[in-house]
């Protein structure tokens, strides 16, 4: 299974390992793919198949925008 980790800057190897361990614990063996996207502003987004965990600043701002609108 492929796991896409998106962040505004490249994540460190220790951060990558921590994430990979946690994901593999739940989903089994996975292949980590890193994507650097400065438009995310801050935080990290992890996409595991159709499942997505979005903890980016951009996502939080979007949620705030929806609550205000």
């Amino acid at each position: 299974m492929q796991v896409v980790v998106s962040s505004p800057i490249a994540i460190s190897s220790s951060q990558k390992q921590t994430l990979q361990k946690a994901v593999e614990k739940k989903y089994g063996k996975v292949e980590m793919v890193e994507v650097v996207d400065p438009s995310l502003i801050g935080g990290v987004k992890v996409t595991i198949g159709s499942h997505q965990i979005d903890a980016t600043v951009k996502s939080k701002l979007n949620q705030l925008k929806q609550q205000l609108g």
């Binding site: 962040s7 921590t18 739940k26 400065p38 935080g43 990290v44 965990i53 903890a55 701002l61 609108g69």
Partner: protein, 161 residues
Amino acid sequence: MEINIAQVIFQIINFGVVFVALTYLVYKPVLKTLQQRAEKVKASQQAADDVLSEKDAMDKTKTKTVAEAKKQAASLVAAAQKQADDKLADQMAKAKAQVKEFVEAEKEKWEAEKKRMKKEFEKQLSDSVFVVSEKVLSESLDKKALTKSVDASIQEILKAL
């Protein structure tokens, strides 16, 4: 002076003959004519009285009819006036209700428009805030802050997993 008996007797007989003749030939016809005339006068008087009585009766009838007509006319005028007043009051009430309904509808429209404008303004404001925040954060976060935010996010993701 010497009285001629024969002449006296002749005069008496002559008077009697004339008296009888006048009685039968003049007095009775004249009396009859007078009686007929009196009856005619009486009949005419009666007719005149009847006409007067009839006139009085007609006058009374006329007065009564006029009074009744006046009463009916007054009653009709009063009824028409009442009907007109009722209709006017009804139309006034309807007009007031229509005006009230119109004002309420316009008020509701205005409130809805205000609400829509407020919502639109809030949306524009939040959009602007979002754009500004995004821009400010993108420009102000240095590498250290970005690393810190990535660390915090990873902790958040670990909890979610």
